[in-house]
């Protein structure tokens, strides 16, 4: 028995050691090749690396701002490659519950940021936007283990493991991302450049209907109470710090708007419902660009996302309005 013990511990120890070495190697490889090229991670890395001396405006939200706002076009110094006064912190599929933690981090760490811009779209508050927290390591940049544990119902120790070893359970992603490495999205100051053109779509009307159905029709709970609560929490937080808040209705195509009508979605009632819940606050602005480019489909990559050309035009327009209000130089 003594010999068996010795053999087990000797061999087992060596085996364990080789497994641990392999674990570190695979993890390092995964972080480098898969985790670090994920769009949200690259967005955050760009934010961390940027010169924040003049940073005054931050854009938050989902794919509408992520693809529609190019901070490089927001103010003249940025256009000339200088220090930008704004950054696009939006990430596709992000919801207001998640945005709250990002806003809180900015308030705590970068008090100089004065203007906070959010989307105010038709799918912003519905269950379509209820997303998971798959990227533990990424979300821990904005919240504590306890908060993430409460949100995900995962044990703290599980979260710690997932954060330290992000490769666990992500083998399929490794294969997929290695496969798609060449298709890596260009990201500039957080903006995700998309050069597709909606006009190349064979049936634009059908694409509009599909989009509305996937976003809104499949999720009848158009205003999810939890997301509204998070949204109001953000407003309260910013209000208590006397920050400026801008809510933007992002541009969409005529096909998308027609599809909304066809599906019987009452835009006016929806916005009135949200509007009544907003607190009174002088520094709260509501900007409506929903129909501004509705007949310029060439500025879109699909029924409701601006492409690179559209983002540039729209960002300049946003800059104009911000300059008018003295939010930017």
């Amino acid at each position: 028995m003594e010999q068996s013990y010795k053999k087990f511990f000797k061999k087992g120890g060596l085996f364990l050691l080789s497994a641990v070495i392999l674990l570190f190697l695979i993890n390092a490889f995964f972080i480098q090749t898969v985790y670090n090229i994920k769009n949200p991670v690259r967005n955050y890395q760009q934010f961390v690396a940027m010169d924040k001396a003049d940073l005054a405006v931050l854009f938050f939200g989902d794919s509408h701002p992520a693809r529609g706002i190019n901070p490089g076009q927001i103010n003249p110094p940025a256009r000339q490659g200088g220090v930008s006064q704004s950054f696009n912190f939006a990430v596709p599929s992000e919801n207001y519950e998640q945005t709250f933690y990002k806003v809180r981090m900015i308030i705590n760490k970068y008090p100089a940021v004065e203007v906070f811009v959010f989307p105010w779209d038709l799918h912003s508050f519905n269950n379509y936007r209820l997303s998971s927290y798959n990227e533990t390591r990424y979300w821990l940049n904005f919240m504590t283990y306890d908060e993430l544990s409460n949100l995900t119902a995962a044990a703290r120790v599980n979260l710690m493991l997932r954060a330290a070893w992000p490769f666990i359970g992500k083998g399929e992603e490794l294969i997929k991302l290695l496969e798609n490495r060449k298709k890596k999205t260009e990201i500039h100051l957080g903006w995700q450049k998309n050069e597709e053109n909606f006009t190349s779509e064979k049936n634009m009307s059908l694409a509009g209907i599909d989009r509305v159905q996937s976003q809104l029709k499949s999720y009848p709970d158009i205003v999810n109470p939890a997301l509204i609560d998070s949204f109001l929490k953000i407003i309260d937080l910013l209000k208590s710090h006397h920050k400026t808040i801008i809510l933007i209705k992002y541009p969409v195509t005529a096909e998308y708007l027609n599809a909304l009508d066809l599906q019987g979605i009452d835009r006016t009632a929806y916005y009135a419902n949200i509007y009544t819940r907003l607190p009174k606050y002088d520094n709260l602005y509501l900007w409506d660009f929903q129909e501004t480019y509705k007949n310029n489909e060439e500025l879109f990559s699909d029924p409701d996302h601006l492409n690179a050309q559209g983002a540039d035009i729209f960002s300049r327009q946003i800059y104009g309005k911000m300059k008018e209000l003295n939010f930017l130089n």
Partner: protein, 483 residues
């Protein structure tokens, strides 16, 4: 505590370490405390049910042995049966029966609001109740002596590797092993760990990955027709096999590490050539339990043919009901009963057909045809087993071939793209290749033991990292926990 939890990964090495460090006389105590802790980490108060079952059967066993008259002996057996099955009925079947009675009376416009118990189903209650019952029945039959040591008997009822999902052990096999002194044996320990590793692979990589696809379809079956319904059912067949046999492998492997030999529970069931063979290969510990404690007491096949068929049918309906308080399980059991009856009744006809069609000259072809046919029949049964209701099950069965085409796009979507689709077939194929090899009498562990250290370690590391990389870690529970 589930095997596929971090909790278990910490718990198990500690228990094994302490087990081999302690003198033999204290080991039963360590295992009993560990087993109770293992169970209580799920829902602590339900440990009282295990203690209750233990005390009832411990006393019943001793009293039956002491009994001077057969009548008194029988009294204690009946007492044990009533108590054990009563407990099982209360926690597992009461609400189902109550709701069924209400629905039945509603058909005759008789309003009734029967009592409903607000209780959770205690994990593993069907397993430990049957294991404990087998002890009292065996003592009654004089096959084994009553266990005098309460602690050892309590351990027999609650031994943690097989407590919540089997294999359902027999006292004759397991009880004496608690009295034996087990030494730390390198080969046995490492063999046990390898079996556990294979079990984890089947559960975490195959079963839980398939579960996501199966759930997508079976949670909303009316959204689908044709190929997705067929694929989801076939995937469920592999999911439940990998889930349950994975659990059994981990249980058997964990017990083996500590020196215990548990009975084999699965023997590559999808290679069965008939339904009767399927039941000799699937959930063996339950099949043999029903055979020994229900089928044979009913008369088995030593009765008239109609009575024999009735016996088969009764056993399978009860087996279905054992799985869960739902008519879907009852139909699943009844269906297998019917399969077996038809198979027995038509065997001479089948042999004749083979002769007439000259298929008999091609035994290999017959073998593959029979395997395929059995697999199809089993899959029809799985539809009832997995579906949430009989309505869903009938929908699925009647829409398997609706709109069938060679367009695999919907199947691809539910599997998460072509890569996901190819991947699930890849791992199923890999497992089945191993099974084919095992069917030919080979053993993977023996094969590896003859290879160099580099090859062996590389194989184990590949297995470990396949689990870490390709495993699904969001899903925790094993399917059979609900039974």
């Amino acid at each position: 505590m589930s095997f596929n939890s971090l909790h278990f990964l910490v718990f198990f090495p500690i228990v094994v370490g302490l087990y081999f460090s302690l003198p033999h006389r204290f080991r039963w105590l360590l295992l009993l405390i560990s087993s109770y802790y293992f169970y209580m980490s799920w829902k602590a108060e339900f440990i009282f049910l295990i203690i209750f079952t233990t005390l009832i059967d411990y006393v019943a066993g001793i009293q039956m042995e002491k009994a001077q008259t057969p009548k008194r002996k029988k009294t204690f057996l009946v007492l044990s049966l009533i108590m054990n099955l009563g407990l099982l009925f209360t926690f597992k079947y009461f609400n189902f029966v109550s709701a069924s009675v209400r629905e039945l009376l509603q058909l005759f416009s008789i309003p009734l609001n029967p009592l409903t118990l607000k209780v959770l189903l205690p994990v593993g209650i069907s397993f430990y109740t049957f294991q404990s019952l087998s002890y009292t029945i065996d003592v009654y039959r004089g096959k084994i002596s009553a266990q005098k040591h309460l602690g050892i008997f309590a351990l027999y009822v609650s031994y943690f590797p097989q407590l919540v999902a089997g294999p359902i052990e027999r006292a004759k096999n397991l009880l004496p092993q608690f009295l034996e002194k087990h030494y730390f044996d390198y080969k046995r320990v490492t063999d046990g760990l390898k079996l556990m590793l294979w079990g984890f692979f089947k559960k975490i990589v195959i079963a839980d990955r398939l579960a996501a696809i199966v759930d997508t379809v079976y949670n909303n079956p009316t959204d689908y027709t044709g190929i997705p319904l067929i694929l989801a059912t076939v995937f469920f067949a592999f999911q439940i096999y990998c889930d349950f046999s994975g659990y059994s492998d981990i249980a058997i492997g964990a017990a083996q590490v500590m020196g215990f030999k548990l009975m084999n529970n699965f023997q590559r069931p999808y290679f069965s050539r008939s339904i009767s063979e399927f039941w000799r290969r699937w959930h063996i510990s339950l099949s043999t339990w029903f055979k020994d404690y229900l089928y044979i007491p009913l008369g088995g096949n030593r009765v008239t043919v109609p009575r024999w068929y009735l016996n088969i049918f009764i056993v399978f309906v009860i087996s279905g009901f054992w799985h869960g308080a739902n008519f879907t399980f009852v139909v699943w059991g009844a269906l297998h009963g019917l399969y077996l009856i038809l198979e027995t009744a038509t065997k001479p006809v089948k042999d004749k057909i083979y002769q007439i069609t000259r298929l008999a000259k091609f035994p290999s072809l017959i073998k593959y045809l029979e395997i395929a046919w059995t697999f199809i029949l089993v899959n029809v049964g799985w539809v009832f087993f997995r579906a949430d209701s009989l309505t869903d099950a009938f929908y699925i069965l009647t829409h398997w071939f609706t709109g069938v085409s060679l367009n695999f796009a919907p199947a691809k979507i539910i599997a998460g793209g072509w890569l996901g689709f190819a991947f699930v077939w890849g791992i199923i194929g890999l497992m089945e290749l191993i099974h084919v090899w095992q069917e030919r009498g080979h053993s993977v562990r023996q094969f590896l033991s003859r290879r160099s250290v580099a090859i062996r370690w590389a194989s184990y590391l590949i297995m470990i990292f396949s689990i870490l990389l390709l495993g699904v870690f969001e899903r925790v529970e094993f399917i059979y926990f609900q039974f």
